[in-house]
Structure formats: structure tokens, C-alpha cells
């Protein structure tokens, strides 16, 4: 019986290897097509002469992207908004999470529940009334408005994630600090935060990439080119149903880089935070 198991395991291994190749092709093909297109001249992109790989690679599409489109403006706006959102999410998240993890007060359980519910309410439900709120507050077409809108998903997430992590920091360490005359906030900064670096990494990653990648709010709350983010700007490279695929793919490639690099750096910690700490282990 044991021999059969090892035999079937060998078969499984080869099935696994075969499927792995299929999955890799399926996963990587769109990236190939994106990068290949960005390196082609228009002649190779459209019509009967279209090619499957760039015969004469050129950076012309990148030149057009930087020379004739407001792409750099979009990059600037996305960066401002993503960084602003990340900083605020970290700050609000740490303060709130500390209160929920370490202080005793009436209403605590209710707030913890509220955080999860808030995180799960999808933006598709909120964008219409939020549009009304933003109009009243005159925050349409401002960086602040978009940063604020993104807080609606990043703050509940960060607070929740950090709360779980803060709880796992041994109480004794904090008690020692408090006995030594450290204030509550002092012990948060000096004891808890240094021990929660992985959780802070996850919050940074999620706040940044979610703001960078967000499209719905960016689309609804911003019209002006001066505030437009990359995701919105990209979808507007379409002029009268004509797509400029060369510069568009060049822009797609470049705008994928920041979240991709962050994913490569943070991937060790990110998986743990994926489902809001619902998946243990």
C-alpha cells in the first residue's frame, strides 16, 4: 500500500509539473503582450502587418507617452494620494488599534465589529452617496477628497490588522514600560510599534497599493486633469473609441511597476494580512 502511494505521488508530481507550465503561460501571457506591444512601432501593432513579437524593438511608444500625454502628471497625483493615504492609515490605524487592543472601555466590542462591517461594505454601494458628500464639502477634484475617500477602506483594514498584532505583543513588556513611568502613548511608540514591524509593513503595502490601484472613486470624484490619477488617466487614453495601444501599454507597464515592486518586497508578510487576519497560520 505504501508503495502504491509513492508511485501515485510520482505521477501526481508530473501532472503537477505539467499544470504548472500551463498556469505559468496563462498567467504571464498578458504581461508578455503588454511589454511586447509597448516595444513595437505602430506599423507592427495594427492591421495586416501586426506581429506576435516586436521585429524591430523601439522605445517610440515611451517617447510618445512622456512627450505628448500628461502621464507624468498622473504619476504625480497617484503618488501624492497613495502616500497621503498610507501615512494617515498608519497613524489612525496605530492609535485606534492600540485603544482596541490594550485599553478597557465600554463599547469596545461594538467598535471592533463596526470595523469589520465597514471593511466589507463594498465601494460600489457607497460611491453614489459619497459623490453627494464630496460635492457638498467641495472636495470634488481635489487630492484631499480622494485621500479621504480611500480612508474609508484603508483605515478599517489597518486598524483591524494592527489590533490583532498589538494583542500578540506580550503584556509584560508593556507593563514594565508603564511601571518605569512611560506614558500610554510612549509605550505604544517605544514598545509595541518596534515589535509590530511586519504588521506595519502589511498596512503600508495595502494602503499604498489599494490607493494606487483604485479606479471607481478616482473616476467618480475627479474630472480635472490636474488631479487625475493613473488608473483614470489610462482609461482615458482612448480618444473617440480609438485606442493608442503603444503608449497605453507602455503606460500600463510603468504603472504596474510600483505595486509590483512593493509586492516583491513585502510578499513574505502580505499573505498573512490577506483576508484581514481571517486565515490563521
Amino acid at each position: 500500500m505504501v508503495r502504491t502511494t509513492s508511485g501515485s505521488r510520482r505521477i501526481l508530481k508530473w501532472i503537477g509539473n505539467g499544470l504548472l507550465v500551463v498556469l505559468l503561460v496563462w498567467t504571464l501571457l498578458p504581461f508578455y503582450w503588454m511589454i511586447a506591444t509597448s516595444l513595437k512601432a505602430d506599423r507592427e501593432i495594427y492591421g495586416f502587418e501586426a506581429t506576435l513579437y516586436p521585429h524591430r524593438p523601439t522605445l517610440a511608444a515611451y517617447g510618445r507617452l512622456f512627450g505628448t500625454t500628461p502621464f507624468m502628471k498622473y504619476v504625480r497625483n497617484s503618488t501624492i494620494i497613495a502616500i497621503g493615504n498610507t501615512v494617515l492609515s498608519l497613524a489612525f490605524g496605530c492609535l485606534g488599534a492600540y485603544a482596541l487592543a490594550r485599553l478597557r472601555f465600554p463599547g469596545r466590542a461594538l467598535i471592533a465589529r463596526g470595523l469589520v462591517v465597514t471593511y466589507l461594505v463594498p465601494p460600489a454601494l457607497l460611491f453614489i452617496p459619497l459623490f453627494a458628500v464630496m460635492s457638498v464639502l467641495r472636495l470634488i477634484d481635489t487630492h484631499q477628497g480622494l485621500i479621504l475617500a480611500y480612508l474609508s477602506f484603508s483605515v478599517p483594514f489597518s486598524t483591524w490588522l494592527l489590533m490583532g498584532y498589538f494583542r500578540s505583543v506580550p503584556l509584560e513588556l508593556e507593563e514594565a514600560a508603564l511601571v518605569d513611568g512611560c506614558s500610554r502613548l510612549g509605550s505604544l511608540v517605544r514598545v509595541i510599534l518596534p515589535m509590530s514591524l511586519p504588521a506595519l509593513a502589511v498596512v503600508t503595502f495595502f494602503s499604498f497599493t489599494q490607493s494606487w490601484n483604485e479606479f471607481l472613486y478616482a473616476n467618480v470624484f475627479v474630472n480635472s486633469v490636474e488631479v487625475r490619477t493613473i488608473t483614470m488617466g489610462l482609461s482615458l487614453f482612448v480618444v473617440e473609441d480609438v485606442f493608442f495601444w503603444g503608449p497605453m501599454m507602455a503606460a500600463s507597464f510603468l504603472s504596474t511597476l510600483p505595486p509590483l515592486v512593493m509586492y516583491l518586497i513585502f510578499q513574505r508578510w502580505v499573505v498573512k494580512g490577506l483576508t484581514l487576519g481571517a486565515v490563521k497560520g
Binding site: 498556469l23 506576435l52 454601494l125 452617496p129 487576519g277
Partner: protein, 329 residues
């Protein structure tokens, strides 16, 4: 069922799944220090509310208030830039008589069910493959998870270009290798459009499943498999009697989260097909979007986005319970 342990009141014994007992440190136990005078406690309470103020403001003004105002809005005939009139449930009644809406309802169910189902199967396959011992597995894992890090808009635009009638990769490839002689209109053929949209959703969403499933697989103690093997269980039996039961919680959480996100994501449809051809790929969030911002009917748009909310509520309630439980572990 919680029973406090007599020797230590801060530890509770609770009945876990399948009769197993579990000891938990009680969450309500005082965080730091021993019993304190009420003045200290009151001070702590003030500090807590102070620290939570930004978070509470976000919850109240950016989620709770908009949510309730969506309900109120859905009962009005409000247009963008004009005051609304209260019309009761007229918007909802209009929807029930609207053919496009009924088609959208069916599309949304189909779209969500098929996409979630495929992501699940593909995600589990991916996780099982990556769990096998293999050289360079870290590299393969990183590569297979990359779609997860790509902005959805870019995914959708990229695939729109792959599906392009005249110069896209698919037609280009099929014609070069003589699989077909005619171009296939992937996104504008009523029979193909939905399948294409779902393919893109699956491409983008599968890594999330693989990541959580793989984390679950790797948390299963190897001794369980060894014990099963000694008992003569085949590989298949090990899979069904060791692996699957151990992953059940993760399966549920992942599927519920993903159902919420899949059902409410309008970006794929917006960029790939705009709901066409002939509303074949129209789904609720996209219809709400075009109604509210395209046709500028905010009230009706809010009503559409709220119609699918009851289903989400069930998922949200179940998930919240799960997450609170797992946070207390």
C-alpha cells in the same frame, strides 16, 4: 459556551469544533495591571475614545452616513445637480418591470457564480501544485501571484487589447497558426462576451485564492499525512479526509470575501464591454454606475446598487462573525 477556569479567571474553556476543548485568554480581561480604582478606568476610557476618534470619524462619515443616505436617496427621483422628490419605493417598482434590469439580475448571478467557482477550482489547483516539493518553487509562486498586484484597470485594458478584433493577440495568434481564417469578435459577440469577461476576472482573482489556500495547506501538520499513510490511506483519500476538512474554514472565508468583491466590481465590465453587446454582460454595479453618472439619475442608481445588498448583508454578517472569532483566538 464559555466556562471560566476556576484556578485562573482570565482563562476560559470553550467547546471547539468536534468536541475538542480549547482554552482562551478572555478578551475582556483587563489589559494591563490588576483591578484599579474607577478614576483610572475612566481616564483610560477617555484616552481610548480619543485615540479612536479619527477611525470613528472615518466609519461614521465615509461609510455609515453614505450608506444610510444611499437608502434615502433610493427613495427619491434625484438627478445630479437638482433637488430630489420623495417617491417612496417607485424606483424599485420601476426596476422590477424593467427588462434590462431583469436581464442584469440574471447576468449578475451567473457572472458571480461562474467566476467564483472557476477561481476556486483554479486557485486550489495552483495551491496544490505549489505545495508539492520542487526546485525554484519560490520563483514559481511569486510569478503565479503577480496578477494579484496588478491594478484591475490595467488588467482589464490589457485583456481588452488581447481580445481586440483586428490586431489583438488572440486573433493574431489564431490566424498566424491557421486555427481560424476569420477574426473572432471576442467582446462584441453576444455568445462570447460574458465568457471573455469572466476569463479576465478569473485571471485577475485566482492568485488571492491560491495564496490563502497555500497558507492553509502549509499549516497542516505533516504528521497527519504520515499517520494517514501508515493507516493505508491512498493519496486521494489523504486529500479528501485530511486536506479538505482542514481547509474548510479557509475555503468558506475566501469564497465569501471573494463573492462580495467579485459581485460588486464594475471595473472589468466597464472597460471590457460597457455592459454590451445588448446588455449581455450588464451587471448590477455597472448598471448602477451608468444610471447614476451616465444618465445622471442618482436616486435610481442608488436603488439599483441597493437591490443586491440583501445578499451581501448575509455574507457580511457571516464574515464579521468569523473574523471576530478568529481575532479572539
Amino acid at each position: 459556551m464559555l466556562v471560566r477556569r476556576p484556578d485562573n479567571p482570565r482563562v476560559a474553556i470553550s467547546a471547539g469544533p468536534r468536541g475538542a476543548f480549547r482554552e482562551d485568554v478572555l478578551v475582556e480581561a483587563p489589559a494591563v495591571g490588576r483591578p484599579r480604582p474607577s478614576a483610572v478606568r475612566r481616564q483610560e476610557s477617555w484616552l481610548a475614545w480619543g485615540l479612536l476618534t479619527p477611525t470613528l470619524l472615518v466609519i461614521l462619515f465615509l461609510v455609515a452616513y453614505p450608506f444610510f443616505s444611499a437608502i434615502y436617496l433610493s427613495l427619491q427621483d434625484k438627478m445630479v445637480g437638482a433637488p430630489g422628490r420623495f417617491v417612496g419605493v417607485a424606483n424599485y417598482l420601476d426596476l422590477l418591470r424593467d427588462e434590462v434590469f431583469l436581464r442584469t439580475a440574471w447576468n449578475s448571478v451567473l457572472y458571480t457564480a461562474v467566476a467564483v467557482g472557476l477561481k476556486f477550482v483554479l486557485g486550489l489547483t495552483m495551491a496544490l501544485i505549489l505545495d508539492q516539493p520542487r526546485r525554484l518553487n519560490n520563483v514559481f509562486r511569486t510569478l503565479l501571484f503577480v496578477p494579484w498586484a496588478v491594478p484591475v484597470v490595467i488588467v482589464a485594458l490589457n485583456w481588452r487589447w488581447i481580445f481586440d478584433d483586428l490586431s489583438g493577440f488572440l486573433n493574431n495568434f489564431l490566424i498566424t497558426f491557421h486555427v481560424t481564417s476569420d477574426i473572432v469578435s471576442w467582446l462584441s459577440d453576444p455568445r462570447l462576451a460574458m465568457a471573455c469577461v469572466i476569463a479576465v476576472v478569473v485571471w485577475s482573482g485566482t492568485p488571492f485564492y491560491s495564496m490563502t489556500f497555500l497558507a492553509g495547506l502549509q499549516a497542516i501538520p505533516k504528521e497527519l499525512y504520515e499517520a494517514a499513510e501508515i493507516d493505508g490511506a491512498s493519496t486521494l483519500q489523504q486529500f479528501f479526509f485530511v486536506t479538505i476538512p482542514r481547509l474548510k474554514t479557509i475555503f468558506l472565508t475566501t469564497v465569501m470575501l471573494s463573492t462580495i468583491w467579485t459581485a460588486t466590481n464594475l471595473q472589468f465590465v466597464l472597460i471590457l464591454t460597457k455592459g454590451g453587446p445588448a446588455s449581455r454582460t450588464e451587471i448590477f454595479p455597472h448598471l448602477a454606475y451608468t444610471t447614476a453618472l451616465g444618465a445622471r439619475r442618482l436616486g435610481m442608481g442608488a436603488a439599483i446598487s441597493l437591490v443586491f445588498f440583501p445578499v451581501l448583508v448575509v455574507l457580511i454578517v457571516l464574515l464579521t462573525r468569523r473574523m471576530l472569532r478568529s481575532a479572539d483566538e
